[in-house]
């Protein structure tokens, strides 16, 4: 739907490759695109403005690394700033009291009731028993909804009393008697400008002194996220945030707005309608999502630190001259292995999750390939055509595999050579890591 930010940046900054420092004009051009991307992602415009100012400084000071396109370099600075704003660390629930009380608040339809049940399930997995409290007496069938979820979880639902305040005042004792570790209060959705409803929340807070007051917010929320979050925070002093509906394609700029407005950590994200679909929040991943680039950047970082750039250039050069040997193949696989488990790499690519199932690059295969290559002599690696039947047998014995596997690696080598050669000529300049490290 949205044009890829990084491809736009790379176009703007394409003349910059390896030029040293980024100039002010280049940075400004890049920042204009980034500003638009952040606004498209629904980051509040004030937050965007402040962010741009601090990125501006850092970007001008930073070097254009040879290994990256300059566009990526600017994006990386933005990502780092975003991550910082979002909070580097993951923060979990702080449940000190026994029973501990969690209260969920937020606008209508943001996902409070579902999140209450999801949290109960998460805690259940940790061996903690929760009671769900039905403090939404307004919306039609809200209590019934919670009742059904409680049933599904095999957990009690507390609903005695006629008003929310009455209901919650009885629950602590009940929870103690019934050996519940956690009390999770589901409240009615309300607008932050509805004073009487906001005051009701204050009363609920006074009666229950919650360990956690979590604002539940929809990831699709627009510019108002700032005002909404600020109002709830001012009234209740929130302890954290749950961002829901992240399973869609919303870029979730609201996460940043809410964080900026309240300083509260985002503790969980909802990634589906079903109860197990609650995850811990990863600030860095979120920053990258807001920028619209999967986990691309951490992959770049990993590649950057793991790959010997010189070696990659050498290999590229040999490919260009069609002298790519098994030795190069070995080196390349070795570099790839250094980047960490392949599955992890695939996870970070946009759409990589889908690739994983069908991927023919599994780690064991990679290790096996390396073992086979190591059992070859240097001469064999540099000149694969000399590998005949008896050499194959020896290599197989040496690496503890069968001749069939040696044949397999030789044919993979041929494939790789073909593929890499194609890339090498197609682009003029071949880089390692190949294709999949290119931005969308």
């Amino acid at each position: 739907m949205f044009d890829s930010l990084s491809s736009k940046l790379n176009t703007i900054l394409s003349h910059l490759r390896g030029k040293g420092k980024l100039s002010e004009a280049d940075v400004n051009a890049a920042l204009r695109e980034i500003r638009l991307a952040l606004l498209e992602a629904d980051v509040n415009y004030k937050v965007v403005k402040e962010l741009m100012a601090s990125v501006h400084e850092r970007a001008i000071a930073s070097e254009v690394l040879e290994s990256l396109t300059p566009g990526q370099q600017v994006v990386k600075v933005v990502r780092d700033e975003l991550t910082e704003l979002m909070g580097e660390e993951r923060v979990g629930l702080m449940l000190a009291n026994k029973p501990a009380v969690i209260m969920l608040v937020g606008l209508q339809g943001c996902g409070k009731t579902t999140t209450a049940a999801k949290l109960a399930l998460t805690l259940k997995k940790e061996g903690k028993k929760s009671v769900l409290v039905a403090a939404d007496v307004y919306r039609p069938a809200a209590v019934e909804q919670l009742r059904k979820l409680g049933e599904e979880l095999g957990l009690p639902v507390f609903e005695q009393g006629s008003s929310p305040v009455q209901i919650v005042s009885g629950v602590r004792d009940w929870a103690e008697e019934n050996l519940c570790d956690v009390v999770i209060i589901d409240t009615a959705g309300r607008l932050q400008i509805d004073q009487s409803m906001m005051n009701e929340l204050v009363q609920l807070k006074e009666v229950t002194s919650p360990d956690e007051i979590l604002l539940v917010a929809d990831a699709m929320t627009g510019q108002e996220a700032v005002n909404i979050a600020r109002s709830f925070h001012e009234k209740l002093s929130l302890s954290g945030v749950v961002l829901t509906k992240l399973d869609g394609d919303a870029r979730g700029g609201a996460a940043l707005s809410i964080r900026a407005a309240t300083g509260c950590p985002i503790k969980f994200v909802g990634v589906g309608e079903k109860l197990p679909e609650l995850e811990a929040f990863h600030p860095k991943r979120m920053a990258e999502r807001i920028l619209g680039m999967g986990d691309m950047l951490s992959l770049i970082e990993q590649a950057e630190s793991a790959i010997d750039q010189k070696k990659a250039e050498e290999i590229a050069d040999r490919i260009r001259k069609d002298r790519f040997t098994l030795q190069d193949f070995h080196d390349q696989l070795q570099e790839m292995r250094k980047m960490g488990p392949i599955s992890q790499i695939l996870d970070k690519l946009p759409g990589g999750g889908r690739l994983k199932g069908s991927a023919n690059v599994d780690e064991q295969e990679l290790d096996r390939a390396l073992a086979i290559l190591r059992s070859m002599t240097l001469e064999e690696r540099l000149n694969p055509s000399i590998i005949g039947g008896s050499r194959k047998k020896r290599i197989a014995r040496g690496s503890g595999v069968r001749v069939r596997d040696v044949n397999w690696i030789l044919s993979r080598f041929k494939e790789a050579k073909r593929a890499i050669k194609f890339m090498g000529t197609g682009r003029g300049k071949s880089k390692f890591p190949p294709e999949f490290l290119q931005m969308r």
Binding site: L36, L39, Q108, A141, D218, G222, E224, D247, D249, G253
Partner: protein
């Protein structure tokens, strides 16, 4: 309080802020400088108007400036006009059939946008005009816990018949039965579907299947295919509208939760890209909190002091 008042109340914070900040942005002088234009652009963006459209609107302002200096009132007037011209010409309300067949209204949208409540509001609206009209609700949200119970309560309140199956049932089967009922009784059939994110392929297919069930039974598509859009939504609203439009060929949009502080500026892009009528706005949680969308009013309420 009438619904117009409620709308105004709902938009109060909105219009105060927009107008105040624009007035402030203009400073003392009569003419606009670059900074002031930038500030106005920001104000539009803060209403969830997309950045490209905000830029367009501000460019229009600055082209006026070129020909002559303009004062504050003129600035507001030009902005209003700009927005109105982008929204007008598409207003319409529910169209009811006048043949023997029931009018079928399919209601769709992402999770929590206000589908079920809007159905109740629309039914109440029709009921007001025609107290004897036969109204049927099809509980085709068979997924969310107590979604059927919720619709059941609303059906009671607005005196509609409810056709339901058990939770987990095939929504198309519910719709099939509801069609039978509505064909016998006539009047209007509302189909309450489960919330679904527009990115979920299988769920969007489920929605299309409901559509097909209706076509098969009645020989035509549902008379209205409405997207319920939460005004709190930011730019993702565009993706939502496009995806739902692609799936079921929408006939209109209902913008809900305008009683909050969000302004729903994203509808400008939706209008521009899809030219879909914004038919109604939701301004609260009771059955009476529905208002026909009138672009002039919408914009005036946004800006008037």
């Amino acid at each position: 309080m009438t619904w117009t008042d409620r709308l105004r109340n709902g938009l109060e914070q909105t219009r105060n802020r927009l107008t105040d900040s624009i007035t402030q942005a203009l400073g003392q002088g009569g003419k606009l400088d670059r900074e002031e234009l930038e500030r106005i652009e920001e104000i539009l963006i803060s209403a969830d108007v997309s950045a490209p459209i905000a830029t367009e609107l501000v460019d229009e302002l600055s082209s006026h400036r070129k020909t002559r200096g303009i004062g504050r009132e003129e600035v507001l007037a030009i902005l209003k006009e700009g927005i109105k011209s982008r929204l007008s010409g598409y207003e319409r309300s529910l169209s009811l059939r006048n043949d023997s067949q029931p009018t079928v209204i399919l209601v769709a949208g992402v999770n929590g946008s206000g589908k079920t409540t809007t159905i109740a509001k629309l039914a109440a609206h029709l009921r007001e005009d025609d107290p004897t009209m036969s109204i049927t609700f099809a509980a085709a949200d068979t997924f969310r816990a107590a979604a059927i119970d919720q619709l059941d309560i609303w059906a009671d309140r607005v005196d509609a018949d409810l056709i339901k199956h058990r939770i987990g049932a095939d929504p198309s089967a519910v719709v099939f039965d509801a069609l039978e009922h509505a064909r016998r009784r006539g009047g209007v059939l509302f189909i309450d579907t489960a919330g679904r994110l527009h990115t979920k392929h299988n769920l969007m297919e489920e929605l299309q299947k409901i559509n097909r069930t209706i076509v098969k039974r009645l020989g035509h598509k549902p008379d209205e295919r409405l997207l319920i859009l939460d005004a709190t939504t930011g730019q993702n609203g565009i993706c939502q509208a496009i995806s739902f439009h692609t799936a079921i060929d929408l006939t209109g949009v209902v913008l809900t939760k305008l009683d909050g502080t969000s302004k729903g500026g994203v509808i400008l892009t939706i209008q521009k890209q899809l030219a879909l009528p914004i038919m109604y706005i939701g301004v609260g949680e009771t059955k009476d909190d529905l208002h026909e969308f009138v672009s002039d009013q919408f914009v005036d309420a946004l800006f008037s002091t």
